[in-house]
Amino acid sequence: MSLYRDAAVVLRTYKLGEADRITVLLTRTAGKVRAVAKGVRKTRSKFGSRLEPGSYIDAQLHEGKGELDIVTQAESVEFFPQIRTDLARLSRASALLEAVDQLTLDREPNRRLFEMLVGGLRIIDEQNPPLVIGAFFLKLLAAEGVAPVLDGCIECQSDEGPFVWAVDAGGVRCRACGSGRAVSDDALSVSRAVLGGGLRTALELPDSPVVHEVEDFAARSLEAHLERRLRSLHLLTDS
């Protein structure tokens, strides 16, 4: 069994036996790895809170014989205190973690996704801008190679609006090609900006119906791509 070291974000954990957990880690170089953290549920565990979802750590791992490695050490690289004390931030961070977990296969290196996730968590912890989920999900779709087509109707290529959102087809449609939820001009230009070079400015937008329209489209598009609902996103809003 060999020992290796990697930066990692904890995506989620599962209870194992009496006091252990299986942690699902997105590592910087090795991709998604599942590793057992022994004794982590004991209040005196040396891991403390470092192996909880959303933690960004420098991990030392033992390669296991099967699909499970073993976490032997975990040091905090960057600590996100506000994600732990603000329910709105926690919900958003959970949505990011869940989306990334669903998108990735075990042991497929994806350094870009790792950096995106760390950046997303950092932004949620620091400013928590209203558009963060919408923007992150659009960027995820683009990184997956399925960026929504927004420069014109996805069916007839007409760039003449008004358009309707076409989650099923991955973009927008003109009224002649289909019906659906209307696309507002602002939401269309904000979404284009996110996918173009205007992410930073888009994240400065104040909370508004436009932000919600973009987030709703991005989330439904990502859910369509994943072919499942993102639980974290609806947990505290549906009720």
Partner: protein, 203 residues
């Protein structure tokens, strides 16, 4: 794996494998253990399960486990009615009772808010807790959920929905584990311990 074991053995392994914390390997091991022990011992286990399922139920007030409509703690007239301690599971009631530090009542949520597993407020006994607290007579609610992400999400949610005038909401302070070294404490634990520090001299 179909056909590897006879149906009865496979049924037993499957049933054991559905228990919390029991993986497929452990399920096999327990199944073969049960098949090896003598009939009396296996029957004792089966009877204990059946009897507990027949007799034990959730208390209609606090959702702790008991053998009657009200659990032992809810039916104890000597306990303080003004304070409710909120915990995740019945085993947490046992842990707190062992300290002999608490003389109030309990409320067992039967779980914790877990975004990633999709466990929301509606799947927990939160509505019932709000009803108890708003019914009056309660002056303090102590939130004793686990000091992990799910327990904290639950505490944050509860402190929002239990905003009732005249009711103090407190949270179990999380500090350093006794017997450990300071240098091994993670940021969160150390930060909380600083926040909840006690004055030992001066005023």
């Amino acid at each position: 794996m179909a056909g590897a074991y006879s149906e009865a053995i496979q049924d037993l392994i499957d049933a054991l494998g559905r228990l919390p914390g029991v993986g497929p390997k452990s399920a096999q091991r327990i199944a073969f253990h049960l098949l090896k022990v003598d009939v009396d011992e296996a029957n004792r286990l089966a009877r204990a399960i059946v009897r507990a399922k027949e007799r034990v139920r959730f208390c209609s007030v606090c959702f702790n486990l008991g053998e009657h409509e009200l659990c032992e703690i809810c039916s104890d007239v000597k306990r303080d009615d003004h304070v409710i301690c909120v915990v995740e599971e019945p085993r947490d009631v046992v842990a707190i009772e062992r300290t002999h530090e608490f003389r109030g009542r309990y409320h067992v949520l039967q779980g914790a808010i877990d975004h990633l597993q999709g466990v929301g407020p509606d799947q927990l006994r939160i509505r019932e807790l709000i009803a108890r607290v708003t019914a009056g007579g309660i002056t303090e609610v102590i939130i004793c959920t686990n000091p992990n992400l799910e327990g904290e999400a639950t505490a944050l949610y509860l402190s929002k929905v239990l905003d009732v005038p005249g009711v103090t909401i407190s949270r179990l302070s999380s500090g350093l584990p006794v017997g450990g070294d300071l240098e091994y404490a993670d940021e969160l634990t150390l930060g909380r311990a600083l926040e909840g520090r006690r004055v030992i001299t001066g005023d």
